[in-house]
């Protein structure tokens, strides 16, 4: 247990410092969230209609930012070798790395998401659902993203490759989360969409680490 906690605190600290840390992710998020609706025109009625969706898609893009260094740094400096030499399986280590990524980057973004949605004109009573979707979606983005990051280990321009691998896998959570937000805004039942989002996150958290560990072993050998 002490190993798991030691790794979690290390990963969270590293993710906090990675790529400029959460402040850069937040800045990027604010930028994308304001850029997207500008393309549809500035009328408040139109903006309000796309606001939750824009805030949600921007979140997926911001989640990509710090992903490429998730395994890359440990791979380059030999830390990944040492992570395999432990009674804690590599699968668990990979899961903890994603969890650290989630704590350090997805949690701050989840706090920012309702602010962005409301600033764009979404009704304030949506804030709790936007927050919950962002938190749950962030979990899915971290674990699915980890697979892409592990698969692109050792490749030149691995960051770009990670994005290309990962973006298609971001489609289901974006659809489920966006659907839940849309349904809620329209006064329709939204729980189905949210449950599917949670199910996708749970599936990613359960299966992702197996794929990540296999990809890491392959990169090391």
């Amino acid at each position: 247990m002490s190993r798991v906690l030691a790794l979690l605190s290390r990963e969270t600290a590293l993710a906090w410092g990675r790529g400029g840390g959460p402040m850069v992710s937040l800045g990027f998020y604010a930028g994308v969230a304001t850029l997207l609706p500008l393309a549809t025109g500035p009328e408040p009625a139109r903006l309000a209609a796309v606001a939750p969706g824009a805030a949600w898609v921007a979140l997926a893009l911001a989640a990509l930012l710090s992903l490429d260094r998730l395994f890359e740094r440990d791979y380059e400096d030999g830390a990944l070798d040492l992570l395999t030499l432990s009674s804690t399986p590599l699968e668990i280590a990979c899961a903890i790395k994603c969890l650290g990524q989630w704590i350090a980057t997805a949690a701050p973004l989840a706090v920012a998401a309702p602010v962005a949605a409301i600033a764009l004109g979404a009704p304030p009573h949506m804030a709790p659902l936007v927050f919950a979707c962002a938190l749950m979606g962030g979990l899915a983005f971290a674990f699915v993203g980890g697979i892409g990051a592990a698969l692109s280990l050792g490749a030149r321009r691995g960051g770009l490759l990670t994005a290309v691998i990962v973006l298609p896998l971001f489609v289901p959570p974006v659809i489920f989360g966006g659907g839940a937000l849309d349904a809620f805004a329209g006064g329709l039942p939204w729980k189905a969409g949210f449950s599917l989002l949670a199910a996708y996150a749970a599936g990613a958290a359960a299966l992702g680490p197996i794929a990540m560990a296999a990809a890491c072993r392959n990169a090391l050998s």
Binding site: L14, D74, G78, D81, L85, S86, S87, S221
Partner: protein, 205 residues
């Protein structure tokens, strides 16, 4: 506890090239082996194969009285020529993390830092340390969490003459406590060691 390491008829292939084949040697508790050979002969690959990171082309790597998975989980220290330290973290953060990851505690990490004369450097960021100090920080991990088999890749290269001698004493201590050492070296180890030549098939013939 690993009581011995036996390599039998081992062949390794990297990137389509056969590095060596038919390699045989055995190390018992309390003994050290020095892998010698020119650059690119496969010394590092052999260490990585013993650590389970590289799959052998043929042959076996066996640990006396213990399954390979268990040996790799709890009984092997690997110190490659990369130090596995993040430049922006302090020496203490890195040492205490790797110690705990290898099964040691904060107390053993402090004690190991003292034995390698690192106590005054622990608050510094790793980027401020010299190459020799970083290597000592890596080696402190070996003392902080006791494991029987040490796999060392060029352990002495960044160290100065004084530290080469002092690390030699630490290795000798490890052997007298029943440990095993397999080290890839260019300069001779400062302790008695079985010399294992690593060479490509054509050269050996």
């Amino acid at each position: 506890m690993i009581e011995g390491l036996r390599i039998e008829n081992l062949a390794l292939r990297r990137g389509g090239r056969l590095l060596f084949e038919g390699l045989e040697f055995e190390v018992r508790a309390g003994q050290a082996a020095a892998l010698v050979g020119r650059n690119g002969a496969g010394k590092t690959s052999l260490l990585r194969a013993i650590a389970g990171l590289v799959r052998p082309e043929a042959g076996t790597i066996a640990f006396a009285a213990i399954e390979p998975e268990d040996a790799r989980a709890d009984h092997i220290h690997f110190a490659g020529h990369q130090e596995a330290q993040k430049p922006a973290r302090t020496a203490w953060e890195e040492l205490s993390f790797w110690t705990r990851w290898s099964g040691g505690s904060h107390e053993t990490a402090r004690e190991a830092a003292g034995r390698l004369d690192l106590t005054r450097l622990l608050e510094l960021e790793v980027r401020r340390l010299s190459a020799g100090q970083r290597r000592r920080l890596s080696l402190a991990r070996l003392l902080a969490a006791p494991r029987a088999l040490w796999l060392l890749d060029e352990p002495l290269s960044p160290l100065d003459a004084e530290w080469r001698a002092r690390f030699g004493e630490l290795m000798a201590d490890h052997l007298t406590q029943g440990g095993l050492i397999v080290a890839a070296v260019h300069d001779p180890l400062p302790i008695p060691a079985l010399e294992v030549a690593i060479a490509a098939p054509a050269e050996a013939a």
